[in-house]
């Protein structure tokens, strides 16, 4: 039996945001693959639950008239990986969430939870940062949109206010068109493991030169991050080994890895540098470009 003290199964988005507003200790439960584990461990912060599992509208994946791809906050990782719109327009999101846990966890876990719980290692976070995903959030005062850039506030913390409910992610066409993107999760095991380092790259190439690089990491700083210095160092440079070497060096200025029982700071830095070149190479390959 989980030590739940208050439980409300929301019947609509309006009902959910009202229930969240009424109780300052209320927390959202989606797939339960994090919240129920915290409860199992006896955590005090998750005892008042607003359950959004009946809100099928939040499970949808669709495309809007302007080409934006939208992923409901409650869509499971498996639903995201298997969805043709994801595979066609934003495949790196599918590739990233395919590395979460194992099949059973992916059948329940959601991208909404993966981003909103603020995990430093969130597999979907790198891909979301590279696509500069919009988060469509609702509370009793209405709806607003925030970018995932700047959404992470610290380890386990995000810029959600009391009473906020994330409804869906929106990836606008300017954030996926003509972009090659790849993700690599470096972990000790190939399944049921947390990333030691996660890295995603989004790449635009014009006439053999990098017109834009978007480089993101997890577990390399107190939050998932984008790498401003490395991205600047890449801009306008030819897509070759020398440039990749420069990016791999410059990225050291963007990251702040630390030592934990999983890996030392020095080893993490080595993985960070190595992955920069590897993941950009894979991203280039996705748009038919090769490293000279």
């Amino acid at each position: 039996m989980f030590p739940i003290e208050k439980y409300h199964m929301a019947e609509s988005v309006q009902d959910a945001v009202r229930a969240l507003a009424e109780d300052e200790n209320a927390r959202v439960i989606a797939g339960g693959t994090d919240v129920l584990i915290r409860l199992h461990e006896g955590h005090k912060d998750y005892r008042n639950l607003v359950d959004i599992n009946s809100l099928d509208a939040l499970r949808r994946i669709w495309q809007e008239d302007d080409g934006s791809v939208c992923i409901g906050a409650l869509a499971s990782f498996t639903e995201i990986m298997d969805h043709p719109l994801v595979q066609k327009f934003v495949p790196v999101i599918g590739e990233a969430v395919a590395t979460v846990g194992g099949p059973q966890v992916r059948n329940r876990g959601t991208m909404g939870g993966n981003i909103c719980n603020g995990a430093v290692s969130a597999d979907s976070a790198c891909a979301a940062l590279v696509h500069e995903v919009d988060l469509v959030i609702e509370n009793v005062d209405g709806e607003r949109t925030e970018s995932v850039i700047g959404f992470h506030a610290g380890p386990g913390r995000v810029n959600l206010k009391h009473g906020d409910l994330l409804k869906y992610f929106r990836i606008r066409p300017e954030n996926y068109l003509n972009m090659g993107a790849a993700y690599y999760k470096y972990a000790m095991r190939e399944a049921m493991d947390i990333a030691t380092i996660g890295c995603a790259a989004g790449l635009h190439v014009t006439d053999g030169a990098i017109s834009e690089l978007r480089l993101a990491y997890t577990v390399s700083a107190p939050t998932p991050i984008r790498c401003a210095e490395a991205e600047l160092a890449a801009k306008g440079q030819p897509l070759n080994k020398t440039t990749l070497g420069n990016i791999a060096q410059t990225v050291e200025q963007d990251v702040k890895p630390r030592t934990s029982w999983r890996a030392t700071k020095e080893f993490r830095m080595h993985v960070i540098r190595t992955l920069a070149a590897k993941v950009i190479t894979n991203a280039a390959w996705k748009i038919g470009e090769k490293i000279a």
Binding site: M1, F2, P3, I4, Y7, M9, I29, G32, T33, L36, I37, H40, E41, D51, N53, T78, G101, G102, P103, Q104, V105, N107, R108, E190, A191, M192
Partner: protein, 158 residues
Amino acid sequence: MKRAITMTVNNRKLALDIDVRSSLLDILREQGLTSVKQGCGVGECGACTVLVDDIPVDSCIYLAAWADGKNVRTVEGECRHGKLSPVQQAYVEAGAVQCGFCTPGLVMTTTSFLERNKGKKLSREEIRVGHAGNLCRCTGYETIVRAVELAAKKQNEE
């Protein structure tokens, strides 16, 4: 914190008054379905795997309330008229069972995996990825992969 739910478990309709704090694992075991094992209790080992609307989930981290209106399958329902299911039979023939604690969960994962991949030629890598959420501390997995291959072969011959 009671809640009335109805679910179909192994083709049997159940109307239950559950405590919303219960996991699906708790409720199924209370119903006598003790094939559903609690291993880690945190969704890592897969011993509690059951199918909800044919999708494998860890029933230890699945609220019983979520099963309302759904179709739940456990290994008890796979055996028909005293005859093992093709997946169960393949586990026996491949010798994929040692202590047996992980077996009900694995059999349900394989059952769903093969239903989703009907007619497809499956690589060992695909089989391993498809079963990555179930831990087995006895077999070393080799015989389990062989059991899945055997069941897949039989399914594709039918």
